[in-house]
Structure formats: structure tokens, C-alpha cells
Subunit: 229 residues, 2 copies
């Protein structure tokens, strides 16, 4: 191969500008609230049209990394990571292996929140959780809804807002995979009410065991080691 031939960046100007700006932000260690140069200044510095700069800036605006006010100009701000994630998590257009990964990721979260739960749970939380679990026994029409309510409350109890929002995002994916594989919502041996009891009177270890038992049907479906594509 000829070495002097460059792979032709092929990247659009907007993409390159995005990259340059990102480097610029970290290099100058911009913090939320810091003002940016004007669009025209950026365009001049980068040697591209204002239009291209705006396309790149538009991306940062979507991520919440940049906010703008007319005349005042642009400032760096705190991005909303879960909100951003929401914009890409569209099960219909995601490839199957990623969907499967996310399905497993949710199982990992479910199994992993135990210790956090024991640190953060309050008596009021437990009462509410118990009520949710009790409700489902009566009007047991929509198993999925009660699932969502119960597990959602669990995440809420962790006091971790990001985690809570994250799991909410994963719900559609979870449902999508379950439907895709034609799985039934098979209940594990330990019910929601059982979990509440464990959470109230048992140790973290007990609860972990209970949760595993509750999710066992899902784990049973997972693929063995074989190096996956």
C-alpha cells in the first residue's frame, strides 16, 4: 500500500469541528457557566463556515453541554446523561446483540442494588412497597404493569435518581426482548411479597438470594459461554 495516501478523513466538517471543540473544551478546562467564543469567532478560528460550526454546536446543544441565549452568547452547562441516553434507546432500530446485552444489564442491576437498598431503605418505603405488592394479588390483570411498579419502587428506594431513570429507560428494551424471544413472564419462586418480607426482616444476603430466585426464569434463558459475536 502506498503510505503517502491519506485515508481521506471522509468525516464531515461538522464532525471534525465537533471533535475539535471537544478537545478545546477539555484543554481549556471549561466549566459550567463559562462563556464560549461567538460562532463567528469559532468559524474564523477553525477556518470553516459559520454553518458548519452551527451544525457541530447543535450537537452539543442536544447533549445539553452547551446552552445559548441570544446576544449573551453560549455557555457550557451540565449535560443530562440519562436524557441523552433516552434519545438513542430506540429498541426498534437497535441490533439484537445490543438488545440482549441491555437485557442482561438490567438483570445485573436488579441483582446489584441489594446493598444500596439496605443502606437507603426507610420504613415508609417498605410500607409503600408492600402496598404495591399487595395490590397486584387482587387485580392481577396486567402482570407487566405490576412488575414495573414494584421494581420501579425498588430503584426509587436506592435514592439514586440516575439509576432510577436509567432503569426506566431499560424497561421498553426489556419488554421488547421478552416479546421478541416469545418468552412468557414466568414468575420465579419468590414473589414480590416475598421480596418485601425479606427486605423487611432478612439480611442483604437473604434478599439477594430471593431476588435471584425471583429472576431465575430470565437467567435460565441466558446463553452459555460460547464466544458471542
Amino acid at each position: 500500500m502506498v503510505n503517502s495516501i491519506k485515508p481521506i478523513s471522509s468525516k464531515s466538517m461538522a464532525e471534525q469541528v465537533e471533535q475539535h471543540l471537544r478537545e478545546y473544551f477539555t484543554r481549556e478546562s471549561f466549566k459550567p457557566g463559562d462563556a464560549l467564543p461567538t460562532e463567528l469567532e469559532l468559524a474564523a478560528s477553525l477556518g470553516v463556515s459559520r454553518n458548519v460550526v452551527r451544525e457541530a454546536l447543535s450537537r452539543f446543544k442536544m447533549l445539553g453541554i452547551i446552552e445559548t441565549k441570544k446576544k449573551t452568547g453560549m455557555v457550557i452547562s451540565n449535560p443530562d446523561i440519562v436524557g441523552t441516553l433516552e434519545k438513542v434507546l430506540a429498541p426498534e432500530i437497535m441490533d439484537e446483540s445490543t438488545l440482549q446485552d441491555l437485557f442482561e444489564l438490567r438483570l445485573v442491576l436488579e441483582m446489584g442494588i441489594a446493598d444500596l437498598l439496605y443502606i437507603r431503605k426507610t420504613p415508609e418505603d417498605l410500607d409503600e412497597l408492600e402496598e404495591i405488592a399487595a395490590r397486584e394479588v387482587k387485580g392481577s390483570n396486567f402482570r407487566i404493569n405490576t412488575e414495573i411498579a414494584f421494581h420501579g419502587k425498588l430503584y426509587e428506594m436506592t435514592g439514586n435518581e440516575t439509576l432510577k431513570r436509567f432503569q426506566t429507560l431499560l424497561l421498553p428494551v426489556f419488554g421488547y426482548v421478552v416479546k421478541l424471544e416469545n418468552k412468557k413472564y414466568i414468575a420465579g419462586k419468590v414473589t414480590h411479597q416475598g421480596l418485601v418480607k425479606l427486605l423487611r426482616k432478612g439480611t442483604p444476603k437473604d434478599f439477594k438470594e430471593g431476588m435471584l430466585s425471583h429472576l431465575q426464569p430470565h437467567f435460565d434463558r441466558l446463553n452459555p459461554p460460547k464466544k458471542r459475536g
Copy 2:
């Protein structure tokens, strides 16, 4: 209040177009590979300039939801969710509560991967992991590096590429928080070598206990229930 006065969308045209397009995609149930209308057609349909449409499209291109080739036009494609996440995960500009949340999220992941590990682990994996753990005892200069290598291998062993990449993204956040709170990298009672042994000969339950013990110093630092901001 006067009702006929609209709240003035205040959203930029680009943002509105982004939203419209997103709805359009799902409504028409676009799938990867499906071709989109041309920029000019979109602009005409939406009643905005091509410029605005391009700013919105640029956002989708960043997310990997849209790919383009000249002349051929634009097609829907599989977004790369971890790659997208990477673009917003900049510890320096994230607010502290989110950083704390992500710190906890990583702990949740560490505690939650046990069952997945036992499903997917292979003898070769265990050998490699043991080697990593052994290496650190000798040249124990960079504790952080060995931490990364060991735990990184654990995620790799889950066979879940998304999970693995996700945790890699969380590493800088983890390190940032540790530094921020002036924590030391205090080692838990169970060492890496201890974890390997458990993983080899113990039950999932044993391993979970071991991992908790390994991470205990971090858990000890977590805040009590108090409703956080």
C-alpha cells in the same frame, strides 16, 4: 392568564425538527437500512429552511441513527449507545449529584455481575484473571492500573460487550469521585487473588460476599437514607 397566548415554543427550530423527525421515524416504523426523504423534501414538508433541517439531521448523525452517502441519500442505522454515552460523560462538567449517582451505579454493577459471571466464565478466563491478580502483587506501583485491569477482565468475562464498554466509561467518573472526596484506594479485606479463588471454587453466593467485602470501603462512605436533593 390569557389563554390564547401560546407559551412561545422558545425551542429552536432545529430542536422542534429533531422532535418531529423522531416522531416521524417511529410513526412510520423506520428500520435500519430504510431510506429517508431528501433534505429538501424534509425542509419543504416541515416548512423550514434546509439549514435548520441539516442542524437537526446533524444531531441524528452524531447519535448514529442516520448515516449518509452522497447522492444515495440518508438511511436509518443502528445507533451506538455506549459511543453516545461517551460523548456526554465528561466528569469535569457534570454536577456532583450525578457523579455520585454514577459512582454508586458502578458499585451496583460490580455487585450484580456475579451470576452472569458464573454462567459465562471459562477456564481460560480464570487463568488469565489469576495472572492479572498475581502480577499486581509483585510490581505493586500503580494500584489504580491493576484495579482497572482486574475488574475490566471481570466485565469481559461476562461476554457482554455493552456492559464491558459501559464500565470502561464509568472508570474516569469513579476515579474522579474518589479523588474529589479525597478517598484513598483502601483495599477491602478480600483481595483480587481471593476473588479469583472464590470464582474458581466457590459458589455465586460466596463470590458475592467476597466482592462485597472487597468493595466495603466504598460502601462505607455512602450516605444514609436522608432524602437527597
